[in-house]
Amino acid sequence: MILDKLAREIEAIIFAADTPVDMETLTRITGALEDSVQQALDRISGSLEEGGHAMMLRRVGSGWRIVTDPALGEVVSLLFEDRRPGKLSRASLETLAVVAYSQPCTRAEVEEIRGVGCDSALRTLLERNMIRIAGRRELPGRPLLYATTQEFLLYFGLDDLDHLPRLDEITELLQTPPEELQRPDHPEGEKASPKEDAAEDG
């Protein structure tokens, strides 16, 4: 597929950009309408795929970026050998998951879910720019609030936060008060009824 002028412009902009480029920027720079830009993006994506190129167009958050095919990761990573941070530790990953699904949240909230101290894991994640400080909760002590960053989306190749795995299920779980928690298999399940003997016994 031979790309038209608009698609070529957009491809060049995304390639040269230092962050994912959002729709607003693309329409502003090219002067094209959102619909045309969207179609051009589809054409770029299609042409990269058709031509068997090593690059691909990916949406990250509200923007687009051109990245190499992860299938070629082994070769390309040799180029960056000692310049890449390692994988996240299990503690960091768990902590990050809790922040991602319940953001913005405080350290105490993360620790309650994980059942262990998360101070150092949070610090690692801040250093690696996976999370950021998103203000303070108006509670005694005004604890810091944490939220995920764009870097987090980039790192996990997520389009946006709505694409987190099992988002609905976990959001619901987080919102259910303990006494209403039920085995998911039978939502109308027999409520083991300890309430029957509510009569006061002396």
Partner: protein
């Protein structure tokens, strides 16, 4: 359970909830209907074994042990009326377990995504993320003239070279001691500041202070301070210098 399995596994756990989930899975228990007595027993066995090995058991593990024991004992007691029922610790624990299990599973999924997308590289514009160099300036932002200018500036405010020779202090403790004793004898008790002199440098102050301490040790002066960090008042000691008759 041998001591060795315990040693290995405790380090693998990401906290008490992780250990509990492991026990539940190992014994094929239903997470929604956990037999607390059984789990509590297994859990405590782990903690005890770990302590026998002198492993450092994090306090979180002990809190959980207490929670389990409390739930167990609560289930043995007759249920009281609903009025004073605060949150059921059993329900709270169930929620913790279910939530933690969900997050643990999700972290597993995130790990898989990480494995894939960590190996996808952005275009050159974004490569700075991995560069050890600091962000480069834009082309044309600086010229050779800026460089020369910066060098001239450096030379202009260059400070004189530090002296290569250092003078040795010309004071000695012995001199200071004599000086202090003379002043006290001539002028009577006085404050430390006056003793040292109005515009004494740090060196002189230190020497005089050391000399003063020396005199105090020898019992020749009495030092008084009426408040913390307040002025020191120095007086010749009565015993040391009865007027006229110098000892020795």
């Amino acid at each position: 359970m041998s001591a060795d399995t315990c040693r290995v596994t405790l380090e693998l756990f990401e906290g008490p909830l992780d250990l509990l989930l492991y026990l539940i899975r190992r014994d094929e228990l239903d997470i929604w209907d956990v037999p607390v007595a059984h789990v509590a027993r297994q859990y405590l066995q782990y903690i005890r074994a770990a302590r026998e090995l002198n492993l450092d058991v994090a306090s979180e593990y002990l809190v959980m042990a207490a929670t389990l024991t409390s739930i167990k004992s609560r289930s043995l007691l007759p249920r009281r009326g609903e009025g004073d029922e605060d949150e059921d610790p059993r329900a709270l624990l169930l929620r913790q377990l279910v939530l933690y299990r969900a997050f643990r599973e999700v972290s597993g999924e995130l790990r898989e995504i990480e494995n894939v997308w960590r190996d996808s590289f952005p275009g050159p514009g974004e490569r700075g993320r991995w560069s050890r160099d600091t962000a480069p300036m834009d082309p044309g932002q600086a010229s050779i003239l800026d460089l020369v200018g910066a060098l001239e500036e450096l030379q202009a405010d260059r400070l004189p070279p530090p002296p290569a020779r250092f003078e040795r202090p010309r004071m000695s403790l012995a001199e200071c001691i004599v000086d202090i004793e003379t002043s006290l004898k001539d002028r009577g008790p006085m404050g430390f500041r006056r003793l040292v002199g109005g515009n004494a440098g740090p060196e002189r102050i230190i020497y005089y202070f050391l000399a003063l301490l020396e005199l105090a040790v020898r019992g020749r002066v009495v030092i008084r301070q009426t408040s913390p960090l307040g002025e020191l008042t120095v007086a010749p000691s009565m015993a040391a210098a009865p007027k006229g008759a110098a000892p020795e």
